[in-house]
């Protein structure tokens, strides 16, 4: 039997193949591999299942996916670095456009639309964080933070880094990995009840050898770090650069870190129009002032605007390209490659849709909903709605210690009631005992929240 021509491989057609081989001047296509020594040629067939037709493939994959239970099936209160937010349909329409989906690294001429939309993304996010410079997106918050810190260290030539102990442990790992072996990290203690940074500890650790202080706002634990100005003052006293990580969706209502002295701001774009995708929606950003010393330390691409030879027309190009590893290999600033450009475009669409009022209203809704949940939780005997007394944005630590039930058990019971409970913090923050990090956003209806309350009441009183 002759081999079937695969729909993805047009030149499997025997006649065409022969014609091409003739042009090349070989008898069969395996001859083209004669440069590969026999000992390196794979002899056995790979143990991979036989090809499926499109329909079979669809049944197969959909069959696998049916085994999942999604946040569309159950009510979800998990956050902790990946959050469930409302995604406007226009965001999906744009990022599914075949043109954007399949473009890559084209030139300003054939990819004008890609350049413009990423320039616009930079510009929109710049307004949200109220800083002048934003890069083409990087991998995720963790890596953006790592790079922000490395940038700071390059700028002031120092090696020590102070990190708030409330930073997400996952991100701390990424930061440490990107920072080692060059940088030296220490934690800054925090107050268990307020979550706030222990300024005395900060003062005791800061010195003229410190390159940067890094903290997050809203913090991983959900509370709002209100000492931004104080921290900034301490940092400036030692010419330490202040790097602040931020959840951009909070910035309709919360002051952006630039307002309390941050030199470099980073964070994750996922909340701004990306579905969670089992963590496929993450994307990092870095923002700075328009200062040459800062711009020259970005490893990432920065698109800038340029006029064309035609009046009234403009194009775009790479700003200060020479600093990148694309231009300079190991002499470039860190490394650049394929990161998360499509999410940048999407975040731009998102911000264009919501506008200033939308961002404000969204922040407000989130705060109202999350406060409502905490208030109701407080009414349940044995549960403290928020272990931390400081104001919070969308996440908060629910304290189950007095219920005598472990978070794990509670979450198992919630699962039975079709609820994904908060993230168990007992390993990451054992000092809190049986606490869980819950996330409430604008996607939660009152019914959703009440459903959680009822379920927990049930669990606790049973």
């Amino acid at each position: 039997m002759t081999k079937k021509v695969h729909p993805y491989i047009p030149n499997m057609v025997p006649k065409v193949k022969e014609e091409m081989l003739k042009v090349i001047g070989v008898e069969n296509s395996m001859e083209l591999y004669s440069c590969i020594p026999e000992e390196l040629q794979l002899q056995e067939e790979m143990n991979i299942p036989k090809a499926l037709t499109e329909y079979e493939l669809r049944r197969h994959i959909e069959g696998l996916l049916k085994k999942n239970i999604s946040t569309n099936d159950y009510i979800n209160f998990l956050g902790a670095g990946c959050w469930q937010h409302f995604v406007p349909a226009v965001c999906d329409e744009i990022n599914q456009r075949s043109e954007f989906l399949t473009a890559y690294a084209g030139e300003p001429y054939e990819d004008h639309g890609r350049f413009q939309s990423l320039f616009e993304y930079q510009s929109l996010l710049a307004e949200l964080v109220d800083m002048d410079v934003v890069n083409v997106p990087t991998f995720d918050w963790g890596q953006a933070a790592a790079t922000s810190i490395r940038m700071a260290a390059r700028i002031n030539g120092r090696k020590k880094v102070l990190i708030a102990a409330t930073v997400a442990p996952e991100r701390t790992k990424i930061i440490a990995n990107y920072g080692s072996p060059e940088l030296e990290f220490s934690n800054i203690a925090f107050d268990l009840d307020t979550g706030l940074m222990d300024l005395d500890d900060l003062k005791s650790k800061i010195s003229n050898e410190v390159a940067a202080i890094y903290f997050e706002n809203p913090s991983y634990l959900g509370f709002i770090e209100s000492q931004g100005n104080e921290i900034s003052v301490i940092a400036k006293e030692h010419d330490v650069l202040l790097v602040v990580g931020v959840d951009p969706i909070s910035l309709g209502v919360l002051a952006p870190p630039s307002h309390y002295g941050a030199d470099i701001v980073c964070g994750d774009l996922q909340p701004l129009g990306m579905h969670m995708n089992y963590s496929g929606g993450q994307a990092g950003f870095i923002a700075t002032r328009d200062e040459e010393t800062f711009i020259n330390e970005f490893p990432s691409r920065l698109f800038g605007i340029v006029p064309t030879i035609k009046e009234g027309e403009y194009g775009f190009g790479d700003v200060a390209y020479e600093r990148t590893s694309f231009a300079q290999r190991e002499k470039g600033k860190e490394s650049v490659g394929t990161q998360t450009a499509l999410w940048g475009i999407t975040a731009g669409v998102y911000l264009s849709l919501l506008g200033p009022e939308g961002m404000y209203e969204l922040g407000q809704t989130i705060m109202q909903n999350s406060q409502y949940t905490v208030k109701k939780l407080n009414k349940i005997a044995g549960i403290q709605g928020s272990r931390i007394v400081s104001p919070f944005f969308k996440e908060f630590i629910v304290d189950f210690n007095d219920t005598g039930i472990s978070v794990q058990t509670i979450n198992e019971m919630l699962l039975e009631k079709k609820i994904f409970g908060g993230k168990d913090l007992s390993k990451e923050f054992p000092e809190y005992g049986q606490c869980a990090l819950f996330c409430v956003t604008e996607v939660h209806t009152k019914e959703d929240m009440d459903c959680l309350i009822e379920a927990l009441e049930d669990i606790v009183t049973k």
Binding site: Y8, I9, N11, M12, K17, M20, L32, Y33, L40, M46, N47, L52, I61, N68, N76, R97, E99, T102, Y104, G106, Y109, R114, E120, L128, D132, Q143, A176, N177, I224, V253, P256, Y260, H275, N277, Y278, S279, G304, T308, I309, K310, G312, A320, Q328, R329, S335, V336, T338, Q339, G348, V349, G355, G358, M359, M367, Q368, Q371, Y372, K375, N411, K446
Partner: protein, 524 residues
């Protein structure tokens, strides 16, 4: 009717041109793109305005200066910009060599939009994501077959991050063995992706770069000259950007191993090798594949993406966690890897890309994967044969022995006509085609790199060749045409000034443009 006969060898093309303003210019105070959900009335009456709990110092004083635009106008704007972008779905995308721009199956795009994928939270209970974990595990198994490696992590968000992760493993490995400080050099080659060298430096290594011998092969003698007890690792692609397969690769890895170094393989692009030859047999300890290249995940304007990182059984404990395991009954996440480098990317990486590549592999099967490789090589050699016949073009180094791509040169044409590879690049846009020069530095002068993959038909390849031929003709007969291109693109030539490199002039955001360009004009 006279029959419609298309005699032009190149396409009568014009790209969509909408001359869209910058999004801020569309601002109309009061318009709204979408209504966000507001809190339920009872919630509001229970809680109040919600925002007054914000400490004064942390309350945003004024609204962010975002534009206000109605939904239809936002949509129209971005749709128009999309038409001004030449996705690979739209052209014979073979001019972006090393990037493996292959066909992106639409069925996969449909599958990833399934809410059972899109709406999963990465911290869900394992029991609620068994399907997802099974997909990850299945892809792992396929990748092991393709590479001969012992375990894969799909956490790295691209090739660069996979290279970074591998450099991290190299470091951790030597540290674990007490040689962390001693081994401070990583060896790479010049015809490789810049990230090989760059990520090694991020990880604190000194980089030693091997240049090719006169035939274009990495120079084995030079390698012997540089390995030592300081060698931490050796990273290389094969073929390199030239498309030339280094048949001595096993000797290379042997030399490095004997010096105590780790060999890691840049298989970002393994498109000519699937089912033909593997990392394991070539002696590598680690390798990575770009799922957004060889494994048909889309490039998405530059990510999100995945660098699938494979290691030998011996190095498994060094992987970033968690990895997926299967006990015959149930899939689980293992985050207890003894020597784990920790994390490089949040949670589990880009799940959509994992699903896409798994689907692609299943659509091809083992035979299909081999056909991919063989056809990619066939297509490339066809192009190689034809392009060299174009006046002014050549393919430096050894004759033949090219697998999936070739780095060509317009050196002759440039010297004879003054037309450079950048000129050619702009002119190619006029035919609806994409063309990329090459990575810096231009070791091959006036370079361009073509990689046809398996996805393009002979007719497609001929269209591309004809366009190159026509530009060569123009260069020799009427170079002004090429010099002043493009004509049929969305925009015309950028003004060549220092707008991008002069700190006084560069504008990375609209607010910078307003400050630096508009405001001074308005003040005048």
């Amino acid at each position: 009717m006279k029959p419609i006969i298309r005699t032009e060898a190149t396409r009568d093309f014009h790209q969509a041109k909408w001359n869209e303003p910058i999004i801020f210019e569309l601002h109309q105070e009061g318009e709204k793109g979408v209504e966000v959900p507001l809190a339920n009335e009872e919630v509001v009456s229970t809680i109040g305005d919600g925002v007054s709990t914000i400490p004064a110092s942390m309350s945003r004083k004024n609204r962010p200066n975002l534009p206000e635009i109605g939904q239809a106008r936002v949509l129209r704007h971005y749709l128009r910009l999309s038409q001004e972008t030449l996705g690979s779905d739209f052209n014979v995308e073979i001019g972006q060599g090393t990037c493996t721009m292959k066909y992106i199956p639409k069925i996969n795009e449909l599958l990833i939009r399934n809410p059972k994928m899109m709406d999963l939270h990465p911290l869900q209970e394992e029991s609620t994501v068994q399907g997802m974990l099974e997909i990850i595990h299945n892809l792992d198994l396929c990748m092991r077959e393709i590479s001969g490696m012992g375990a894969f992590s799909f956490q790295p968000g691209g090739g660069t991050q996979a290279l970074f992760a591998m450099a991290s493993i190299v470091r951790k490995y030597h540290e674990t063995r007490g040689e962390g400080d001693q081994r401070d050099e990583i060896i790479t080659t010049i015809f490789s992706h810049p990230s090989q060298a760059a990520t090694a430096v991020v990880k604190g290594y000194k980089v030693i770069t091997l240049h090719p011998d006169e035939n274009g092969f990495p120079d084995i003698e030079k390698l012997k000259g540089v390995v030592s007890e300081r060698t931490a690792g050796f990273v290389v692609a094969n073929p390199e950007d030239t498309g030339i397969f280094n048949s001595k690769i096993k000797e290379f890895t042997k030399i490095v191993h004997e010096a105590g170094g780790i060999c890691y393989y840049d298989q970002a692009n393994a498109n000519g090798l699937l089912g033909i030859t593997r990392a394991k047999e070539a002696g590598f300890d680690m390798c990575f594949f770009n799922l957004h290249k060889t494994f048909a995940a889309p490039h998405m304007c530059g990510g999100p993406a995945t660098g699938a990182l494979g290691v030998t059984e011996a190095l498994k404990e060094y992987l970033p966690g968690p990895i997926v395991e299967y006990d015959g009954v149930k899939y689980s996440l293992n985050d207890n890897l003894q020597h784990s480098i920790g994390k490089v990317r949040a949670f589990h990486g880009v799940a959509q890309t994992i699903l896409r590549s798994y689907a692609w592999i299943r659509a091809l099967g083992p035979d299909g994967l081999r056909e991919v490789a063989q056809t990619a090589v066939l297509n490339n050699n066809y192009l190689y044969h034809k392009v060299q016949k174009i006046r002014g073009a050549s393919a430096p180094y050894v004759k033949g022995q090219r697998l999936e791509q070739v780095r060509y040169s317009w050196e002759q044409m440039a010297s004879e006509t003054g037309i450079t590879t950048e000129d050619v690049q702009r002119r190619m846009t006029d035919f609806g085609l994409h063309y990329w020069t090459s990575h810096h530095p231009y070791i091959v002068p006036q370079p361009f790199t073509l990689e046809p993959t398996e996805s393009y038909s002979k007719t497609d390849l001929d269209e591309y060749i004809n366009a190159l031929q026509q530009i060569s003709d123009e260069a020799y007969n009427n170079p002004e045409i090429v010099k002043n291109a493009p004509y049929n693109s969305t925009i015309h030539q950028l003004v060549e000034e220092d707008y991008l490199d002069n700190p006084e002039k560069w504008c990375i955001t609209w607010r910078m443009y307003q400050k630096k360009v508009l405001k001074p004009v308005l003040i005048k």
